[in-house]
Symmetry: C2
Subunit: 551 residues, 2 copies
């Protein structure tokens, strides 16, 4: 018990060995066990009640108001709260100011409701607290991880049974690895690609050992570049920055009208580099399978063909779209992914796993050899210690969660979710087109689409306006949509995100930047009826709070 | 239900919308709620019963035998198991082949029993599934994270109240960040240090943008080095590899007889670089606060003084030892840490949090500005999106767990654990010295120590032997201790790890490498009685299975 102001005086909490033993030892008596279970009940259903009450995103209290309550920076010497108080406080006072990402009205980001069993599985992982960096703190969970890595590798690359029997439990090969998230997965892929591009040679000990400067000198290189469309995730630039390649050396290529990489532009860029920049190396071409902003998929098969022709490393960022491979109906959208050298897939996105779980897979089971690290106390040579070939050190057994989820859902179960997302997004796009006050900006290829509020009278004015008037309307629309998104978020009934899109091929004029609304349809509870209501609300907000006001 | 061979035929599981809705929707009826709670009971207490039954580390079944059962790499189309079966399977068939890191007889690694409330807190994090990369998917949890970062920052740097009031909720400054683990924390520190060492200047856009090669050319530099004692964690080399600095450029300095960095050697190295290598920059000097192998703490205050004098970035790797700051009795061991530019501390180590939680703190609240990344859809400029200044993208709200744990434990509660570890390790060292068949190799400064089995008759032979005989006994001891550690682990009653230590200042002869046993005392249940039994078992194994056999 801790005493708050105005509450009756209570016995202060003390830290002593008695309490400590009770905290560490699982309780033996029936009463204590009941209490612990009661806490879990509060967690599972107390939170649930909150989620039911708060259909919207958050309560209205503003960020700055909330922040004022979180400014005490002292750690108390004595215990301040019992577990029951902490849980009650979290459920009653803190969670209501969190974000109800589980709401079917929350269609703004790549975070959604979890199947409830995921919470149980995460609890098991926490209770066992295995550390899969090494076999000595994980044993079977490292072996299970190798198995699930092989399963997803097979889903992507689909090699033959002999290949998988050889590698599934091979101590010296690695079909992929679990990472904290897609950012680290992409980073790992480029790390491996970078190290393979500059292997040891006479007088040079390899880029891992000697660094980039020495590597470039040994190989007569001035810079390395990564080529990706301008729809590439920002983590690609971040990875290039971290790896010492330089984020300016991530070349953003233009997209075509379908938001896919412009292949002609890519070919021209490759040719130009070959002809004009003999001291530039191409580290990788990246294909996107489910762009963060538009959900679009690059033409992977053609990218693979181009990369093969030029002998360039081909990475696919399928952090979002990867699980589409489980859908018989839509897996063809990712055709060509099997030719990639490496593939990023996130577990906490369309595998519906709890935060945080990324993965990266390599076609060549020895690709990660170029980034192996050893130490005498762990990750010893020849062991199956998974930490030998990962960026991470200590790491929880997330693979167990994915392995269990695959057993519970089957590819069919996941396919239901995937298909629902894609088909509901298609319906939503049609509905947007039907409404006079909206404009569809990007067609949904997977389950993400962009649109904007574009009031009918402005459409007419735009159509008949000269270029100066068009420009003014463009800016007005940007302001309207920015305001609309904020007002809807603050109203707390639903949440659609926004982004600023640079449209199509490079345009240097200032109307290039378009503010758009972004919908991500991944919650199976998100129905056409709900999407209609979200559009209704946007029209309502526009008419009540934006139209007529000076923009 | 799924049908196994030899079990009665059952209705096959199918994936359909009905099931899917039941899986995603929290159950409404009393019966389903009861079932979900029953599962949690199984998880909390079914696992507990296993932990009680299996005092030792794992069952005897060997790794290769286990691996044979994890070779199916097909993902089934239809669901194979219900949640209840998955949980039962995990508890009955899989967990028993995991590692019982919670046993007080498991003193081999930096992973231990968790206070049971940690499992509840992790469950809450999973149930809320917030993503703290951005405020729009976390809101209050980002604010809570900033608060707990300030609390630990204060524990380390102890600036005044005005400083913390200014920064605790400041949108543009960052006192630190949560990372997946200590490896990523160290990497983040060097990343920031690297980028600050090569800022933009005329004709150069900064190392983040242009990369290392361009940076070195702009600054007339050939290489950067990181200086750390040879007790440094392997993640430091890994980070140097990733960052393009080159892991050969991590210079391993010798240690003194107490396993601490040799300050004279450090000063000499700094002077030599200054005099002889004008094109070498020193990126950072690293002080270790709790070496992985020996638990020793470098003389941080003197390191700080040297770094200040030479104007060198000073990083402290306190992944292990950081929480010692909460002990009134022993915090003095880390004196000088407050002068560091950055400090790594792990949550999953001596904060007793579940896997995986690392942290890194910066004295300068603007230090992370040099690694900031933005995108239009998230982590927008000027927002409090935490993902702007982290290596990671999507990330779970681990900060909530630490924040709650600090409330529940207080510094006093944690200090009990810290003090117990240090004092029990001291007792253990004395006991090792008392026993005729052992040798203490490193004195415990914190709660880690190294020792080896050194049979009495070999001690006598060693003392009177010539250099050739000494060498032979040295090798024999290495074989004995390697074998002993393996046999004890396989017997499954207790677990002590081993490492290969290069002793003291550089010795080029082959007796430099010593195989030693390593004990990490962090479990409050690990008592002198248990430690005695572990030594007894080692002597028993030696006499029964090693002595007399050809080594």
């Amino acid at each position: 018990m801790f005493s708050r102001e105005n509450s009756p005086p209570q016995k202060p909490l003390v830290a002593n060995w008695d309490t400590l033993f009770k905290v560490f030892l699982q309780p033996e008596d029936v009463e204590s066990k009941k209490t612990l279970i009661k806490y879990m009940e509060q967690i599972l259903f107390g939170l649930h009640d909150f989620l039911k009450k708060n259909v919207g995103i958050t309560e209205e209290i503003s960020l700055k108001e909330i922040a004022k309550e979180y400014t005490n920076t002292h750690i108390h010497k004595t215990p301040q709260k019992k577990l029951t108080e902490v849980i009650t406080d979290l459920i009653q006072n803190i969670a209501p100011h969190g974000v109800n990402i589980a709401s079917p009205y929350f269609i703004g980001h790549m975070t959604s409701a979890l199947p409830f069993f995921m919470v149980h599985l995460k609890t098991i992982a926490a209770a066992l607290n295995q550390n899969v960096v090494k076999i000595e703190t994980s044993k079977v969970f490292s072996i299970l991880e190798k198995q699930v890595l092989a399963k997803i590798h097979r889903l992507i690359f689909n090699f033959d049974e002999i290949f998988y029997q050889t590698h599934v439990q091979h101590a010296d090969t690695t079909l992929g690895c679990f990472t904290e998230n897609g950012t680290i997965a992409n980073l790992t892929a480029f790390w491996a690609a970078r190290n393979r591009l500059f292997p040891p040679r006479t007088g040079f000990n390899g880029i891992g050992a000697e660094g980039i400067h020495a590597a470039y000198r040994a190989y007569d290189v001035d810079r390395c570049v990564i080529l990706v469309s301008r729809r590439g995730h920002y983590s690609i630039k971040k990875a290039a920055g971290v790896l010492g390649i330089g984020n300016d050396n991530v070349l953003d290529l233009d997209v075509d009208s379908n938001q896919r990489i412009d292949l002609k532009k890519l070919e021209n860029t490759l040719e130009a580099i070959k002809l004009l920049e003999p001291r530039t190396r191409i580290l990788a071409v990246v294909g996107i399978a489910g762009a963060t902003e538009t959900g679009t998929v690059d033409p992977l098969a053609r990218l693979a063909e181009i990369c093969a022709r030029h002998q360039i490393y081909f990475h696919v960022d399928a952090a979002w779209g990867g699980p589409t491979l489980m859908s018989e109906k839509y897996s063809h959208l990712l055709d060509g992914i099997q030719h990639a050298d490496s593939v990023t897939i996130d577990g906490h996105k369309q595998f519906y796993m709890p935060m945080s779980c990324g993965m990266v897979y390599f076609k060549d089971p020895r690709a990660l050899e170029s980034i192996a690290y050893h130490a005498n106390y762990i990750v010893r040579r020849g062991s199956v210690d998974l930490g030998i070939r990962t960026l991470s050190g200590s790491r929880e057994a997330n693979s167990m969660i994915l392995s269990s989820a695959l057993d519970i859902m089957g590819t069919e179960g996941y396919a239901l979710l995937i298909d629902h997302g894609i088909e509901t997004a298609k319906w939503f796009a049609e509905e947007i087109k039907r409404r006079k006050n909206f404009e569809l900006v990007s067609r949904p290829e997977l389950n993400i689409l962009l649109y904007r509020l574009f009031p009918e009278h402005l459409k007419e004015a735009f159509d008949r306006g000269d270029s100066e008037e068009k420009k003014q309307i463009h800016h007005q629309l940007n302001r309207i949509n920015q305001r609309l998104q904020r007002l809807q978020r603050e109203a707390g009934n639903s949440f659609v995100s926004r982004t600023t899109l640079r449209k199509g091929p490079t345009q240097k004029d200032e109307t290039d930047e378009m503010v758009v609304l972004r919908a991500v349809i991944m919650n199976p509870m998100t129905s056409p009826a709900i999407l209609s209501k979200i559009l209704d609300e946007q029209e309502f907000i526009y008419h009540e709070k934006i139209a007529g006001q000076k923009q």
